[in-house]
Symmetry: C2
Subunit: 276 residues, 2 copies
Amino acid sequence: MPPAQTLTYSERAARHKNPAAKLLLETIERKNSNLAVSVDVTKREDFLAVVDAVGPLVCLIKTHIDIIEDFDYGLIKRLEELSKKHDFVIFEDRKFADIGNTVALQYSSGVHKIASWSHITNAHPVPGPSIVSGLASVGVPLGRGLLLLAEMSTKGALATGSYTEEAVRMARANSQFVIGFIAQRRMDGVGLVGGDVENEGDFLILTPGVGLEVKGDAMGQQYRTPDEVVRESGCDVIIVGRGIYGTDLKDVDAIRLRAERYRKEGWDAYLKRIRS
Amino acid sequence: MPPAQTLTYSERAARHKNPAAKLLLETIERKNSNLAVSVDVTKREDFLAVVDAVGPLVCLIKTHIDIIEDFDYGLIKRLEELSKKHDFVIFEDRKFADIGNTVALQYSSGVHKIASWSHITNAHPVPGPSIVSGLASVGVPLGRGLLLLAEMSTKGALATGSYTEEAVRMARANSQFVIGFIAQRRMDGVGLVGGDVENEGDFLILTPGVGLEVKGDAMGQQYRTPDEVVRESGCDVIIVGRGIYGTDLKDVDAIRLRAERYRKEGWDAYLKRIRS
């Protein structure tokens, strides 16, 4: 097939075999939004308020369910209701990073039961292929999708060079379940060795560290614009956090205005990309 | 100072500046046990039963608190009571692997509030130094200690070569909080570059993948004996899971017998090491 970044989201949705990837691509097309909001707040009602505010404008809500202090399973029910009401996909940004047996339990069990509600989750490839098989044993029967962290956008990150190449090879070897990467660029061709035929299927690239104003925080996060990420680097989904929900979580109008600004920037960058 | 593996645990305890490392070294000496048990069960009462069974024989209990389905904070109170009753250190094997801001929240907050009860936790160095500073901002004021995953014992793990070297450099640069490594060997001298003076302080090596009988599981875990790990490779703590608690969690006598066998093997290997 042609390189994924030259196709429309709907063309890619029609071809994709993984249910979670298909759902995400269809949602992006339906809502003209490649914007994901990362809701990194610690109170349940704050979390739901932000999700409800940005829900109409996003394709995906990214969660860190393990930072919510007053979590109970009722919160998941509320999140699922909002997911249906506003038509967005859920991505628990768990960054699994353990051996196969352990991640299978962490994914399916505990108080959070991530596999039962999160369409997409992610993992570091550092433990080797057992992490993918462990998660797949839980996620594939549920139609879930996995993203691998092939790179990180923080200063001094160790996911570079041969590490990134191995991550991409691991994804290619498990493309029924691994639907893409958390990365700053497309991974087509990365890690191919002499004689390999590139047959990528379609890996989605979800990109954190996107900002319109700020260039970095005190804890090593670095930022790029939606145009740099989507048009120049060919990524598929921009992930924005505090840049959208800010510090006043009650100011729904301001949150929606900022989300709409990012949605439009991300979508315009995509339109420029597929027309070029 | 002389290489850590030539000193007794009590000599090292007397020199160590980190409160969690000091506590662990003192506990090992007091109990003549360098055995840690990893309690990877999903029911609260099973968890407490295993901890109570092995508690007298271990220096440390390793937890995956996020796999316990019927967790509530009362479980932590029970764990802390057992920690006092049986005199063991607690290590939540969380394998943090996100950017600084996020891990600070994951460590301090959520339903699990790991920093408030776990003397020791661990992290992957893959995001770069911000993960250590983020965790340190929470853990240092509480007297906690951090282990870095410099290596992993699974097949095809990507924590090798320059990745391992960078992990060790990151630990040296943060030795107030980073007390050691999850690894299969000592890390002294790893990652030193020309002109560096080796001034290691004392990094503890905690080693998973220890077994007396089994050599591997279906999900990529590989096993070594206590003698290989402690005497040959100079590691400090052996971590054993199902090899001790097995499949019948009610059979306290059998669990204690297996724990005592591992405790003795680990301690004998240590005595041989320091006498050689």
